[in-house]
């Protein structure tokens, strides 16, 4: 009976192990299947990434391939194309964060404000469909509508106007990327915010309305704060993963706008490593990306703590 409050108080102080075990054994039991999965399907195989320090050949295996130290990383560092790809990646990630990230939140708020249940369901069902279409199809459909020979430009031509190079202008490529992302995934990303909105206490609205708070004030003071944790969480995850902006979407459109605008880290790695069966380079790029991601994740998480959010990893005793 005292267990719970004891747990809370003593978390900082530290109990003897045996006492902790007596208190927490059920929780530890619950962890076991997950930890087992992690060990077997992640931690053992992830050790294979040592090939990043090898000239790995599948026919020799890890045991017999030659070690070459940091050579794979040096090659990466020395390649100017790598830095171009990095620059593009960061630019695209920034644009995605600014222009894509808020869209599903906005959509969720609008959908949430719909009174008609039926309308709400219909819209959600439609909005999440494009998530299931592959990038190949999405890019093709965009081309059918916005391409040089697409629907819009053919209309422009009929009207005697000049076609607009939506799909081929390297300068506006980031906008195109975001537009495609919004089309494909905004409805999908909205779902998680809708789920978060279900945790809002409805009586708060009632009370606020009684106090004379209007639509906007209610949204600002009740709805948005309830989304705050999720928004921060997703933001942190996104920042930790900032070096991945997508692969297929870019490789598909690399020719149309040129590598100058569309080469990102993942496509770079693909051409530099995977294409030639160079497993080691691929692993090296993956490791480098992971280390950077770890730093970013840590930074974003600390920032969240400063803002009073739990983030994804809590300080001891927090």
């Amino acid at each position: 009976m005292l267990k719970a409050s004891a747990r809370k108080r003593q978390a900082k102080v530290g109990l003897p192990l045996a006492a902790k075990w007596r208190r927490d054994w059920q929780m530890v039991l619950l962890m076991i299947p997950g930890v087992l999965f992690l060990l077997v399907f992640f931690y053992l195989p992830v050790l294979g990434n040592v090939v990043a320090f090898q000239d790995f050949q599948p026919y020799l295996g890890i045991m017999h391939s030659e070690w070459n130290g940091l050579q794979n990383f040096v090659n990466l560092y020395d390649n100017p194309d790598f830095w171009d790809a990095l620059r593009n990646t960061l630019l695209l990630a920034a644009v995605q964060l600014l222009l894509f990230f808020p869209v599903p939140i906005g959509l969720a708020l609008i959908v949430d404000s719909l009174v008609s249940n039926r309308l709400r369901r219909w819209f959600q069902t439609i909005a999440y469909l494009p998530h299931f279409l592959s990038w190949v199809l999405v890019v093709t459909l965009f081309q059918q509508s916005l391409g040089g020979a697409g629907f819009v430009n053919n209309l422009l031509r009929h009207a005697g106007l000049d076609p607009i190079p939506f799909m081929t202008n390297p300068d506006t490529f980031p906008l195109l990327v975001v537009a495609q992302l919004v089309w494909k995934d905004a409805g999908w990303a909205m779902i998680i915010f809708l789920a978060a909105l279900t945790t809002v206490d409805v009586s708060l609205y009632e009370a606020a309305a009684a106090d004379g708070a209007g639509r906007w004030r209610r949204m600002w003071h009740i709805t948005l704060p309830s989304l705050r944790t999720v928004i921060v969480l997703l933001l942190i995850l996104r920042i930790g993963d900032i070096l991945s902006v997508g692969f297929e979407q870019f490789i598909l459109q690399r020719d149309s706008v040129g590598p100058g605008a569309a080469e990102v880290l993942d496509t770079f790695t693909y051409y530099a490593g995977v294409v030639g069966g160079d497993w080691s380079s691929g692993a090296a790029a993956g490791l480098a990306k992971g280390v950077v991601g770890a730093l970013l994740l840590w930074g974003a998480n600390s920032l969240a703590h400063r803002l009073g959010e739990p983030g994804i990893f809590q300080r001891r005793g927090a």
């Binding site: 294979g48 719909l114 439609i126």
Partner: protein, 291 residues
């Protein structure tokens, strides 16, 4: 039903809302209609349109008949449904248990949390994974599609965050009533987190449904291939690098057939969401707290 406290929106605001949602829905519906129309189009329609068809003038089910007339499609759907159902159930159970256990300050909680977060950053290579799957004797078994995907770090983090938001007082009072950790999870935490569990379940289901690469690597028996692998062989056929490069020239599949596969791969998973939406209702927490 409009709650009594909610004022009628101004016509201007309503118009903007309608425009945004209506516009968004329209840009989605039209291309998807094109996909469906093309799957129903005759060869003549497709050649006249040079590819995608807005509205088939001679609609036909030929593509679907070809698809299900023989070969692997029917079986592949069963495989995909099985993998998705079983996979989602296992993954949800594992993830819920782990997320709940690490959502409170308990023994081993922090190291285990770190263990999971680490998986966000690095990925095991294809070859070591293959060796592991082989060691476990899972090659050519559907379990090779299910088990490696049983714990997603993203889903774990989301679920854990929601679990952490469950009011502490609720758990506290349950404990005072003598409830075990298992009971608290089952009786309090899960019912309060229905929406997010539904969402994470959906994320898992979609992940299992869309996966194809594991199947290519781990399954030699084509009769065990899931829908997505079949989809790719139809849609990629004749356009693949190797085919071009090698000068092997299988004519590409008719556009109608390609789109029919896209539709077939889309419909079952698209049907899941409407069922989940019923869990997206508000006010549960209020009730629970008050009750």
């Amino acid at each position: 039903m409009r709650p009594i406290w909610k004022e009628r929106p101004s016509p201007g605001y309503q118009a903007i809302k309608a425009l945004v949602l209506g516009g968004f829905a329209l840009v989605i519906v039209i291309p998807i209609l094109v996909v469906i129309s093309t799957s129903l189009a005759s060869d003549r329609d497709i050649i006249d349109a040079g590819g995608y068809v807005l509205w088939p003038s001679h609609p036909t089910l030929k593509a679907y008949q070809t698809l299900f007339g023989g070969g692997l499609m029917g079986r592949a759907i069963l495989v995909s449904v099985f993998v998705t159902l079983v996979g989602t159930a296992i993954a949800l159970a594992v993830t819920i248990a782990l997320a709940y256990a690490t959502s409170r300050p308990v023994l081993f909680g922090r190291p285990v949390l770190l263990m999971v977060l680490f998986t966000l950053l690095f990925a095991p290579g294809i070859i070591p994974m293959f060796l592991m799957v082989k060691q476990l004797g899972l090659l050519d078994s559907l379990w090779s599609l299910i088990l490696p995907g049983a714990l997603g770090a993203f889903n774990f983090v989301v679920l854990r965050t929601f679990f952490m938001n469950v009011p502490g007082e609720l758990l506290e009072s349950a404990r005072i009533d003598g409830a075990s950790d298992f009971t608290i999870l089952r009786r309090i935490v899960l019912p309060l987190s229905k929406a997010v569990v539904a969402v994470v379940g959906l994320f898992y289901a979609v992940g299992f449904w869309n996966a194809f690469f594991n199947a290519l690597l781990y399954l030699n028996d084509t009769s065990k291939w899931p829908v997505q692998v079949i989809l790719r062989t139809y849609v990629l056929q004749g356009k693949s690098l190797s085919a071009d490069q090698l000068g092997v020239h299988p004519p590409s599949q008719p556009q109608s057939l390609q789109m029919a596969v896209v539709v077939v791969a889309l419909v079952p998973i698209a049907m899941v969401y409407p069922f989940l939406q019923r869990h997206f209702t508000k006010g549960v927490i209020t009730g629970a707290v008050k009750g």
